[in-house]
């Protein structure tokens, strides 16, 4: 059987090799690799499409190995596994708060903070933080609610996606 994967890799040397290694080691056949470093996501990561072939057990082992390496699998056979959630927090976010907020968000099930952008203001109350999270597909609504709770808890204005 075949799996069509869409992976999301950081744009640093050696990433593709990292992905291909478990496939070779576990004995999956690579049918196609589409890797264009010029085409990037908004966050500067590189989407890579890989088609692999093998029996079910082998392919499952490959998937486990990729996950163990923390490689972002965005879609399998056209079915989204992960989705991005963007949130902006407004409020006095000093260094400690950023760390704690990220930790709180990472503790939510199926959520990982993938990107963070900070814009400080003369008035610290007006500072804003943008967070991009990768989340398991299909849990958006629940996750948005949890983000809001975390924000309320810390006194931030939470601006979630629609």
């Amino acid at each position: 059987m075949r799996f069509n994967l869409v992976l999301d890799l950081p744009d640093v040397p050696g990433q593709l090799l990292e992905v291909l290694e478990p496939m070779g080691r576990l004995g999956a056949n690579i049918v196609a690799v589409i890797h264009q470093r010029d085409v990037k996501t908004e966050r500067g990561t590189v989407p890579v499409q890989i088609t692999i072939e093998g029996d079910k057990e082998t392919l499952d082992m490959v998937m486990d190995a990729l996950e163990a390496k923390d490689i972002q699998i965005m879609a399998v056979d056209g079915v989204l596994r992960k989705e991005q959630i963007t949130t902006i927090l407004v409020g006095d976010i000093v260094e400690e708060d950023v760390k704690e907020t990220v930790t709180l968000l990472n503790q939510l099930e199926g959520v990982k903070v993938a990107d963070l952008d900070l814009k400080m203001s003369d008035d610290p109350k007006n500072s804003a933080t943008k967070m991009v999270m990768e989340a398991d597909f299909g849990h958006k609504k629940k996750i948005l609610k949890s983000i809001k709770e975390v924000g309320d808890q810390k006194g931030f204005l939470v601006i979630n996606e629609v």
Partner: protein
């Protein structure tokens, strides 16, 4: 014989007038008088509708004439003196607005008095009385609808009268009748929308100019887009009222204002808008109504998506079971624009009654 058939013909063309009382003669009330005047021939030709304003009430009193008041003279009187009670010959100073409903025979009340979001009065009492007297009611008045929707709807039903309020949400933007009639057959699962023009204007300007909230608000006030007391708009109360009306009328959820979670735009900063833009997004004040959420809050919207409308425009996206998502856009305020929605309700009432 010839004489007789001519008479019948003339009667058919003119029809029985639909006698209308307008309570409240501010921007919307005057808009109604204006469109009824401008569209006179059109209404007669197209619908056989011959509307006749038999009374108008404002703070100063009333103008009442069972044979109909001239629309242009009503507008001129209001413009010149600020008081409808100074209407030549038929002006009555000091009459209580609710008593006007007993002074003259009428078919339909157009309730457009200033809205009150604490007790919905005096509009609520006006409408209840008209319904109990067996009269149809058309309104743009959000306050009483957001506070006592179920009471009003039940009273209308038990008295078998028409109760229409298209103009209460989104001004000229068709939404309530659109959901009920045009999308008939579809179940509507949820509604998302930009339901307040003032806040959309402020957020659009902040995004385009990079200006601060305070600065943009005072600019909007100078332009007359924001009110001197902008509280209800910027804190999301106005949008919340509309969410309640949509929840009740479109989603059949018996909600009131206190069920809505509300966050306005006064805490939105230039920094947060800049960060959103960097990600290809805009911040908009979004109202959401669904069986598990009633909320008004600033949200992130992708640039170029249907929700990314600019200026004072209003917008709503209805999520349906059969038609998927349907989006409507239109002018959310303005005298004649809002009156257009009231006129469409008057025509609907007429179609039922004629």
């Amino acid at each position: 014989m010839i004489m007789n058939s001519r008479k019948v013909q003339i009667l058919e063309i003119n029809g029985d007038p639909m006698k209308i009382i307008i309570l409240g003669f501010g921007a919307v009330g005057q808009g109604v008088a204006r469109v009824l005047s401008v569209k006179k021939d059109y209404l007669k030709k197209k619908y056989g509708l011959n509307p006749s304003i038999v009374a108008v009430g404002d703070r100063s009193g009333a103008a009442i004439n069972p044979d109909g008041l001239d629309e242009e003279l009503l507008l001129k009187t209001k413009e010149k003196t600020g008081k409808i009670s100074s209407f030549p010959e038929y002006g009555i100073p000091g009459v209580e607005s609710i008593n006007i409903l007993d002074e003259v025979e009428y078919d339909c009340l157009v309730e457009v008095t200033p809205t009150d979001i604490h007790d919905g009065e005096p509009a609520r009492s006006h409408m209840i009385k008209a319904m109990e007297d067996g009269k149809d009611v058309v309104t743009s008045n959000k306050g009483p609808l957001a506070l006592s929707f179920q009471e009003l709807a039940t009273t209308a039903q038990s008295n078998s009268v028409e109760f229409k309020f298209e103009a209460s949400v989104g001004g000229a933007m068709p939404i309530i009748n659109f959901a009920h009639e045009t999308l008939a057959g579809c179940s509507i699962e949820s509604i998302f929308g930009i339901l307040n023009g003032t806040t959309n204007y402020i957020l659009s300007r902040m995004a385009n100019e990079g200006s601060s909230y305070e600065q943009t608000l005072s600019e909007a006030q100078e332009l007359g887009i924001a009110e001197t007391d902008p509280y209800q708009d910027v804190e999301g109360i106005d949008a919340a009222c509309k969410i309640v009306i949509l929840a009740n009328s479109v989603l059949n959820l018996p909600a009131t204002l206190k069920d809505v979670e509300v966050e306005g735009i006064s805490r939105i900063t230039t920094e947060s808008i800049a960060l959103a833009k960097k990600e290809g997004m805009l911040i908009k004040l979004i109202g959401e109504a669904s069986p598990d959420t009633l909320e008004v809050s600033p949200r992130l919207v992708r640039q170029g998506s249907p929700l990314a409308v600019e200026g004072t425009l209003n917008l709503a996206t209805l999520k349906t079971d059969l038609a998927d998502e349907v989006t409507v856009v239109g002018k959310g305020a303005g005298s004649v624009e809002t009156a257009s929605a009231i006129l469409s309700d008057i025509i609907s009432v007429w179609k039922v009654r004629k």
